[in-house]
Symmetry: C2
């Protein structure tokens, strides 16, 4: 998914930290030319992120394959099959899932930084340190960047394996419905297609629901038995994850939720933008876990 | 694991970017007081990282449980059981594993940012933006920080489940052998113990091998059938991952390796320090994927 670019806000803060000194004649760059923010080094350039990506997709495909084999062995009893989509009225304490009935199977994926790496856009961002995020530039990217994206490591093999198993791949993204044809093209170009708006591609604006994805998820779950979901933001799984960083983090680890990760809900790493990049020292570091060097080099 | 802190180097670069302007009387802070670097917000404060952690540990425990059930059903045929540790002479193109024989089962974990969050040390680091990494400060932390760490979300449940299955939990970390008792205490304090140096805890210096972990892995695999490994750096799986960021990333995704992630080798996210945080624009962004805004807000 894509929301406000917290990293850029931080970068702007750092820049103003420099400009605030009284007699500087030229604002120095926040990151030296050619330097890349650590989060981008990790996500777009590292072997460790690629390993995390393969891990998520291997685990997802294995889980779906086991489920299909188990349901085949236990043929007939479709009544107790459940979707990976929360039912209306569910809570994070009682995450009741939508029953599947005998609907055809699907896996629902977010797109940006879940299946697609937005290399072109992020390169331009890295090349302009300190520049604020602009919705208009992202919209431009949606319309003109289709050939400057790349599939996440492992994603092509995963969607191919799912389709061979007879599982429909459905895309649920906050890219704009106005740019549907361009997003279909981007997904195709990356080797992840087909994506067809109104059938297997759901976009922001489709159900007038803003950035929340629950209404689109419900519509998808009315047509399909959603056996798994994949995303890089918790909003790709439920709109119920809200509140402070600590509240969201506690919810992800809560007794009713923690067992879903890697079994029904599959997470891709994204330390570049999104809801994960929030919080000051008091939010991120518990008061009872702080430490000060005791000697020598403080 | 823990190596040179690339993030701090970048921060120092940014700081010097400010200092280099001629008439500044005081070096401004790189990050405003109370701000936290995005990588730390992600790893220590976000729900998304907690979900990735649970995902890795759920997948690991599930894989080990299935393997044990499968081996129990197929009793007797121990000769074809293989370890998750590469055998001497293996390559990343031909990643032959060590045979298990009938040795008792173990899972080998790295410690820092794999099982333990070093909250105290990282808080102190976040509170001193721009300060360079110092080996002496980390050594101080090893000796005095045992009660300022926290288990990674899902880690306690995972090691508990493994031990209940009769699987030994072995720690292989680059913390110093000189501080063994303190690291045993830190692991205990986090609820992940027991760890006993020379038996289930292997440290830098134990086999005179420097930061490479292959010699310790071989020694562990001589005693145990290693059914899975967990780490946040690719060096936690094999010392063979080397070279440029692109070479390492390609190796992680190569045909012989990509199927290991989430099945034998389990990765925890760490965008705060380590080998993942390397590379300039040319390393991170392929030349044919660059993009420039076409209109409006560039």
């Amino acid at each position: 998914m894509r929301r406000v670019r917290v990293g850029a806000v931080l970068a702007a803060t750092m820049l103003s930290g420099c400009v605030a000194t009284t007699t500087v004649t030229q604002a120095p760059p926040v990151v030296a030319p050619g330097d890349v923010p650590p989060g981008m080094q990790f996500l777009y350039g590292s072997a460790e992120a690629a390993a995390l990506d393969h891990q998520a997709y291997n685990a997802l495909v294995d889980a779906v394959r086991r489920r299909l084999a188990s349901e085949k062995a236990d043929s007939g009893a479709t009544s107790d099959r459940i979707s990976a989509v929360l039912r209306p009225g569910a809570t994070l304490d009682q995450p009741m899932m939508i029953p599947c009935g005998d609907r055809p199977r699907a896996v629902v994926f977010d797109v940006d930084e879940t299946l697609l790496l937005n290399l072109g856009f992020e390169y331009d961002d890295a090349a302009h340190p300190g520049r604020a995020y602009a919705e208009s530039r992202w919209a431009d990217w949606e319309r003109t960047g289709a050939d400057r994206v790349e599939a996440i490591p492992g994603a092509i093999a995963a969607v191919t394996a799912l389709r061979r198993m007879g599982v429909t791949v459905v895309f649920n993204t906050n890219r704009s419905a106005a740019n549907a044809a361009f997003t279909e093209a981007a997904i195709d170009h990356a080797g992840l297609g087909p994506a067809k708006h109104g059938e297997t591609l759901w976009l922001k604006g489709d159900l007038g629901s803003g950035s929340g994805k629950d209404s689109r998820r419900s519509a998808i779950a009315a047509r399909y038995c959603v056996v798994a979901m994949g995303g890089d933001q918790l909003g790709d799984f439920s709109d119920l994850f809200a509140g402070t960083p600590q509240q969201r983090r506690a919810a992800a680890s809560s007794p009713a939720i923690h067992g879903l990760w890697g079994r029904f809900w599959f997470v891709l790493p994204n330390p570049v933008y999104g809801t994960a990049l929030k919080g000051g020292l008091d939010d991120v570091f518990p008061a009872d876990k702080r430490w000060t060097p005791t000697a020598g080099d403080k």
